[in-house]
């Protein structure tokens, strides 16, 4: 295990703990940026999808992992971001470079609007309220047909920034880089939140509201801010999702997506940026993994390709059940354990992470 000798407070404030860590993340950055040269168009598309889900996951993670407020309704904000982005382009003729951040802003404001009446709710009640918001949004999209084109849906135009086209099919590499740039930006913002008073006030609200109050943290406002930041990021992901899918309607952002998003960050590992990315990989790559293994099974058994509808969600659910039972800290928690095992080899003890506890907590209200 590496011992870091700190010589100034900046050692705890900087983005990276030591130069080797910075080196590893630098390498990851380079590999991720070079992906368009390493992968074919199909797999590049899959990884673009992973990044979009990771952005959405980071959005929800700010709320659930950092602030301890469970939301089962984040698909609503994916929808808000997606529709706002496309409508701003189509109806107002704004360029993507403006409509995209504005879509995030709109989704953020929508989040604050939802947060104001619901911040008094705890745990399970908040989860149900956000669930209702998700369902209501689904129906509202249908009702607001003149604007949203109802169940028929809308087409997302090709993105054009200063004359350069970003299209999922025509220019997949550029589209990937665009998404990658947004993801990196969000990661930076997320890290900055974590190392500033804002992130600490989130943690304070998550762990003890009374105590946060006594420290001078305005609990209701902090929750609203967390909601706003969370839904703004989710909204940006929604906007990208729209461009990625090309066509979308109310069903694109239904309640199942909300649930999937929450399950995703739990599988990935609550409370960490890594968790959002790990979870996104599971969600976005699972269908491909299933398809590949199905073909393999078909070849081996000689029965051809067998399609089982609904296998994806079921497998996803089963993975989640196993994680909650055996590794509540998610893939990231398991990753840390494996890393520690090798760092300390052969001195790792099973009980080293014994005191770990789940991030989410609620107080029972009878």
């Amino acid at each position: 295990m590496r011992t870091v000798f700190k010589t100034s407070y900046d050692a705890d404030i900087n983005l990276f703990r030591h130069s080797a860590q910075a080196g590893w993340y630098g390498l990851l950055f380079v590999v991720a940026a070079a992906l368009p040269f390493l992968l074919d168009t199909f797999w590049l598309g899959e990884f673009t999808n992973v990044l979009i889900w990771a952005i959405a996951g980071m959005g929800l993670m700010v709320l659930v992992g950092q602030t301890g407020q469970a939301s089962l309704g984040h698909a609503a904000f994916l929808a808000v971001g997606c529709y706002a982005n496309v409508l701003l382009q189509e109806r107002l003729g704004l360029p993507f470079i403006l409509s995209f951040p504005l879509a995030g802003l709109v989704a953020g404001l929508a989040g604050v609007l939802v947060a104001i009446p619901t911040t008094r709710l705890h745990g399970i009640y908040l989860a149900i309220a956000t669930l209702a918001v998700s369902i209501l949004t689904d129906d509202l999209i249908v009702i607001a047909e003149p604007l949203t084109n109802g169940v028929v849906g809308l087409f997302a135009p090709t993105i054009e920034i200063f004359g350069v086209e970003f299209d999922r099919y025509a220019t997949p590499a550029r589209f990937y880089w665009l998404v990658f740039a947004v993801a990196v930006l969000i990661v930076l913002v997320y890290r900055n939140i974590l190392r500033s008073p804002l992130g600490r006030s989130f943690a304070a609200v998550r762990d003890s509201e009374v105590s946060a109050q006594a420290m001078g943290v305005h609990v209701a406002r902090t929750k609203a801010v967390a909601f706003g930041i969370s839904t703004a990021i989710t909204g940006l992901a929604g906007a990208l999702m729209g461009h990625f899918a090309g066509i979308f309607n109310n069903e694109t952002f239904n309640i199942i997506i909300s649930i999937q998003l929450l399950l995703m960050i739990v599988i990935g590992g609550l409370g960490s940026i890594h968790g959002a990315f790990f979870g996104a990989m599971v969600v976005a790559l699972l269908p491909q993994a299933i398809a590949i293994s199905r073909d393999l099974v078909g070849e081996v058994l000689g029965v051809g390709s067998v399609a089982i509808p609904g296998l994806e969600t079921a497998l996803f659910g089963a993975i989640l059940i196993l994680f909650i039972l055996f590794e509540p800290m998610g893939i990231y928690g398991r990753w840390i354990k494996i890393r520690t095992y090798f760092q300390l080899f052969p001195f790792y003890r099973r009980d080293m992470f014994r005191r770990q506890k789940s991030y989410l907590k609620t107080e029972r209200m009878r």
Partner: protein, 261 residues
């Protein structure tokens, strides 16, 4: 003008009168202790000062101004810090992060520059860190800086909570049973700390404590409460020998033994 004035405060929970017409004043620079049996209303008084409850009658003034028009989160900003009887730390954060939350009232950054982590925010972080390090040195918490609260023993948590309150840089520190559950040695440390907090940092201390030995060794004045009512006010010796106090503790005035426990 007293630093903190509790002026004929009454609080009822349904039909129960938790605090009944209690009045006292804490002067700047003193260590003031509240004693009394369980359910006497001591912690309730703390919660009233923290504005978790609204009193039915009376007024609470801090540095001359009524705090009743303040919100709970504004109390820390006035310079009142507190600890909790059943430790309320941020479990999934490190000791350092816990102490830094105490610096929240000194936060000068805003949403935007914190998300961008501008040089200003970075300078602020260094400043907060320097302030927190002073508290860490004072309370000997160096070994625990990076440790998560969830894994810390009880005694250390108590100290961390006191540290978090000190990080606020308060004028008035409310300590809710600082020595409960601590060993004799740890209690001795607490006694020294309380004296230093008053003498070196110039912070006024109001504490609730059951350990009469600690109370008599550090406090200037003591208020005894029972069933939400004031029994006696005076120096530790005066209060311990007060007939009403002895009766409240022992249950009968025939027994003139001193209250020690």
């Amino acid at each position: 003008m007293s630093l903190l004035e509790i002026d004929t405060v009454t609080l009822r929970f349904g039909g129960v009168v938790a605090v009944n017409q209690v009045s006292f004043a804490v002067e700047a620079g003193e260590v003031f202790a509240l004693v009394g049996p369980n359910g006497a209303g001591k912690s309730t008084l703390f919660n009233l000062i923290s504005r978790f409850y609204d009193p039915a009658e009376g007024d609470i003034r801090f540095a001359g101004d009524s705090i009743l028009k303040r919100q709970p989160h504004e109390i820390a900003g006035l310079g009142i810090a507190r600890t909790f009887q059943n430790i309320e730390l941020f479990e999934q954060a490190t000791v350092l992060q816990n102490l830094l939350v105490g610096r929240h009232r000194h936060r000068r950054g805003n949403l935007v520059n914190e998300m961008l982590f501008t040089p200003f925010v970075k300078a602020e972080e260094r400043r907060h860190r320097a302030a927190v390090e002073k508290v860490i040195d004072f309370l000997d918490l160096q070994a625990y800086r990076e440790k998560y609260i969830a894994g810390l023993p009880y005694g250390v948590r108590k100290v961390v909570e006191m540290g978090r309150a000190l990080a606020i840089e308060p004028k008035l520190l409310l300590l809710d049973e600082p020595a409960s559950g601590l060993s004799v040695e740890e209690t001795q440390d607490v006694a020294f700390w309380i004296e230093d907090i008053r003498n070196q940092m110039g912070i006024t201390v109001l504490m609730v404590e059951h350990d009469m030995h600690l109370v008599s060794s550090v406090s200037d004045r003591v208020l005894a409460l029972a069933d939400g009512k004031t029994l006696a006010l005076g120096t530790p010796q005066e209060v311990q020998n007060h007939p009403a106090v002895i009766e409240a503790y022992i249950g009968s005035s025939e027994n003139d033994e001193k209250v020690v426990a």
